[in-house]
């Protein structure tokens, strides 16, 4: 499928990132960039450092070396709150939702940063807080409609299937109206039909909201179908970077994935 989506300028640039935990080198001198409105995939075998890379981007880890430039500004001393505030939202490899809360409430939590009124007013549902809540609820309903999960709006998340929980998590990330959306294995553990649905939603998000997407995924078929550019990591090093076709033709990538004859 081709869309006439236009990728813009570089929005996020990572230069020479190195991250280690004690003696373990998780990432070694990695550089790549993400352009506005593109779908950028990070792939690699287990332990390659993909999730660490995402964690660096959204401020969970601070790399020992390297520079991160976001929207032309060099980032220093990043933390998760600041990352979220600057328009980076994410989903997690192991779903991190509030299991006892309804789908609606879970997605509503994604609006948290956008809420201006005092929490006491919110608790009392009084004054401007009431107006604000209605506006946020409308936004949440749009996301519910977008992700086609109307039928589980009031269902506690813990009772949902894995595939649906993943969708709800995407919904919560979307609720923050991010500029960059980080997806950590959005399709892990899904069946073919669920994967197709999820791919569709990712493409739709990218297309309709113009959101830049950085995703980690194991399913090569999916990655090659939906991404614009792919970064390949292996043992914390970058071994490939380019369009899906280029990456597929890269001998080092083939070796890493298929193994080398010794």
């Amino acid at each position: 499928m081709t869309t006439n989506r236009k990728t813009g300028d570089v929005i996020l640039d990572l230069q020479g990132i190195s991250l280690s935990f004690g003696g373990v080198k998780a990432l070694t001198n990695i550089s790549f960039n993400v352009k506005e409105h593109e779908i950028r995939a990070i792939i690699g075998p287990n332990g390659a450092g993909k999730s660490s890379m995402l964690n660096v981007i959204n401020g969970v880890y601070s790399p020992q070396q390297g520079q991160i430039t976001y929207r032309g500004q060099q980032r220093k001393g990043m933390n998760t709150y600041a990352a979220a505030k600057s328009g980076i939202a994410r989903t997690f490899q192991n779903i991190a939702l509030f299991k006892g809360m309804s789908v609606l409430d879970n997605i509503m939590t994604g609006r948290n940063l956008k809420m201006k009124s005092h929490f006491l007013m919110q608790a009392l549902y009084w004054g401007p807080a009431q107006k604000e809540e209605i506006a946020h609820r409308e936004k949440v309903e749009e996301i519910i409609d977008f992700l086609e999960i109307q039928h589980i709006r009031k269902t506690p998340v813990g009772r949902l299937s894995y595939g649906l929980q993943k969708r709800v998590e995407l919904g919560r990330a979307l609720a923050a109206e991010p500029e960059i959306l980080l997806l950590d294995e959005p399709m892990a553990g899904m069946n073919v039909e669920e994967k197709q649905d999820m791919s569709r939603f990712i493409l739709d998000v990218n297309d309709q909201f113009g959101t830049t997407i950085v995703l980690i995924e194991h399913d090569m078929g999916v990655v090659m179908d939906i991404s614009d550019r792919v970064v390949v990591l292996d043992y914390g090093k970058k071994i490939g970077d380019g369009t899906p076709a280029e990456v597929l033709a890269n001998q080092e990538v083939i070796n890493a994935y298929l193994g080398v004859a010794h």
Binding site: N4, R137, E142, I144, F146, Q150, H151, D207, Q208
Partner: protein
């Protein structure tokens, strides 16, 4: 306005009850309402938009999608211009749709969303006749630039401009509509052969709708939930024709998955559903009751027993003892009332079921808790209007008496013949097929075999064409047997064989939810449908159901010879996508018999099991193969009992 056509009725409602809610739809979690005045304006804009694009009298407008107010308005818009609405089944694959679009020479279509647009564009590569496609939901449509596409909003905007330039056009077009004009073309489900377009005039559907509205005293204050396929005659009668005749409110669900929640929120006063919907509801209730605490369960069963004893009689206003009445009222307070509330049936005054036979237990259940559930009988050709059950005279196994203005009689071979003003004008481009079903006296041959009881109630036994004979000459009515099987919650579908054979055998499809729940309760692990279907425990469970059917059949004079001797549980669900069922979920008997010939042979040759590989189509059109080794089970057969006089 004289009210001869549906658009004329629309205008009349706009004048008589402008502020009365006509349509509701749940959108972004909130029920949106349009009153009759607003609907008039919406339809006017759309009709003018179609006219601006060249839609003219006598043309066909295809309508494809879930039940949405805007799609109902599209039907009206076509009719305003003297055109003919052609609703199609929205879940049909592109290939099936192509046949109908080609047959009906569709040039204009109003569809719901991207999914349907994709289908039409795909079809358009082979049938370039489709020139104009109007889509309601703009999601995902940003990068579609084909010239034949236009959004609903844009079409209406163009219509408003057209209207401003030609202010008299709209009313003049409606004024020139005649009662004899064809209003709608509904395609038959095609149990046999290709679907046929049934042309119905404004007059026929209006007769059917007026008859029904008068019969059940429906007013503009009714609320209904429209969730059945728009291409089905039942939905057209209830959600379109009757809604326009009576002026009541049509509520459209948020999505097909939210129907049960929406049902509860709307609380319809008038409700129509095929038996399987009632069955699913009951199955859900029963499963949930199994999960309830012991006290609740005991209460439930106690009061259901009370309801069984006196519920139906109270509903029919027959004399009931004072103590029984009080006992029932206590039940209403504790069980029936809350139960109806949960199901969304609290406000239902009249509920109908049709389209297939309904099990006596199922039927009794709803009536006993105070839901006035009735049956009707009809077909696409008769505007779903032949027989209705009058209040207070409900028989479980009959479909009631001839409706007002309808004549019903039986042919010599037992086939039901109907003559009424609510009758098709003909099959589209098929005068030969029309001549086959309409005789010289104007009777329509329904193809159903039936009998009348002494009070003039009609009882439908089977499709006349399906009734066969065993080698010993006993009558074999497959549907009759299958229905008895399907009345068990564990059995979703069944196909009986026996014509020209010496005994009856059957295929069974288990109900995944009911059997799955039953298994979990017993700690039986299973990996999926095929695995569950093949479990020895499942066979035991189904066996007990089949035995009960046999015992039941043994008690019936005409049917005792058609007890089931052997059965097997199929490894896959019969599915419309694999052509095994029609879109309205009726078994395509001949097709199934051919496809599974090897299984049938195995059953009659006494084998214990048989290997089979079948092709399946997935929803996205891909094909795959599944195979299984199916076990064949023998069942106990009972001696024919003399019926007690």
């Amino acid at each position: 306005m004289n009210g001869n056509t549906f658009p004329q009725l629309l205008l009349r409602h706009g004048q008589q009850r402008p502020l009365h809610p006509a349509f509701r739809e749940k959108d972004l979690g909130i029920w949106q309402t349009w009153n009759w005045q607003q609907v008039n304006a919406e339809v006017r804009a759309l009709a003018c938009g179609l006219a601006a694009r060249g839609f003219k009298r006598g043309m066909h407008l295809a309508i494809i999608g879930d039940n949405r107010p805007r799609l109902y308005w599209a039907m009206l818009a076509a009719q305003c211009l003297g055109g003919i609405a052609v609703p199609l089944y929205q879940d049909a694959p592109a290939a099936d749709m192509a046949y109908v679009l080609d047959n009906a020479e569709i040039a204009y279509a109003v569809v719901e969303d991207q999914e349907q647009v994709d289908k039409l564009l795909e079809i358009g590569e082979q049938y370039p006749g489709i020139q104009h496609i109007c889509f309601e939901d703009e999601r995902g449509m940003r990068h579609y630039h084909q010239s034949q596409l236009v959004s609903y909003a844009a079409l209406q905007a163009a219509g408003r401009e057209f209207d401003a330039l030609n202010p008299d056009f709209f009313l003049q077009e409606i004024q020139s509509g005649q009662a004899e004009d064809i209003a709608v073309m509904l395609y038959t489900s095609g149990t046999t052969g290709k679907p046929k377009g049934v042309c119905q005039s404004h007059r026929s559907f209006m007769t059917a709708a007026r008859g029904g509205v008068g019969f059940d005293h429906l007013s503009e204050h009714e609320d209904i939930l429209s969730y059945l396929p728009m291409a089905w005659v039942g939905d057209h009668l209830f959600s379109f024709a009757q809604a326009l005749v009576a002026g009541f409110t049509v509520n459209c669900p948020e999505s097909s998955e939210t129907v049960l929640t929406d049902l509860r929120e709307v609380g319809p006063t008038y409700y129509f559903a095929p038996p399987r919907v009632f069955e699913n509801m009951l199955t859900t209730v029963m499963i949930r009751m199994e999960d309830a605490g012991r006290i609740k369960r005991a209460l439930f069963h106690h009061f259901m027993e009370v309801a069984r004893r006196s519920g139906s009689d109270i509903l029919d206003k027959k004399p009931v003892g004072v103590l029984d009445k009080l006992h029932y009222q206590l039940g209403e307070l504790l069980i029936f009332g809350p139960l109806k509330n949960v199901l969304g049936l609290s406000r239902v005054r009249v509920a109908y079921t049709a389209g297939a036979a309904i099990g006596p237990d199922l039927f009794r259940f709803y009536r006993s808790i105070g839901v006035n559930l009735k049956q009707l009988y009809g077909s696409t050709e008769t505007c779903a209007y032949v027989c209705l059950q009058p209040d207070g005279k409900i028989l479980f196994d009959s479909v009631g008496q001839a409706a007002p203005e309808v004549e019903v009689k039986l042919a010599d071979n037992g086939e039901v013949l109907v003559r009424s003003p609510a009758m098709l004008s003909g099959y589209y481009k098929r005068p030969d097929a029309t001549a086959e079903v309409m005789d010289a006296q104007g009777y329509f041959h329904t193809g159903d075999a039936g009998i009348f009881d002494s009070d003039g109630n009609l009882k439908i036994i089977d499709r006349a064409a399906d009734v066969g004979k065993l080698t010993n000459g006993d009558m074999f009515a497959p549907n009759y047997i299958e229905n008895k099987l399907k009345f068990f919650p564990f059995i979703k579908e069944a196909v009986a064989f026996g014509h020209d054979r010496d005994h009856v055998c059957a295929f069974i499809n288990i109900d995944m939810e009911a059997v799955g729940n039953w298994s979990e309760r017993r700690g039986i692990a299973y990996s999926g449908y095929a695995d569950l279907a093949a479990k020895a425990e499942t066979y035991q469970l189904i066996m007990s159901c089949v035995e009960k059917v046999n015992a039941d059949l043994a008690g019936e004079a005409l049917m005792s010879g058609t007890q089931i001797h052997r059965f097997l549980v199929l490894h896959k669900e019969l599915d419309p996508d694999d052509d095994e069922l029609t879109r309205t979920r009726k078994v395509r008997r001949r097709f199934v018999a051919e496809k599974y010939a090897v299984l049938i042979d195995a059953m009659y040759s006494g084998q214990r099991s048989q290997f089979i590989e079948t092709q399946v189509k997935f929803e996205d059109g891909r094909q795959g193969k599944i195979s299984a080794d199916l076990h064949i089970s023998d069942v106990k057969v009972f001696a024919a009992q003399q019926q007690a006089a």
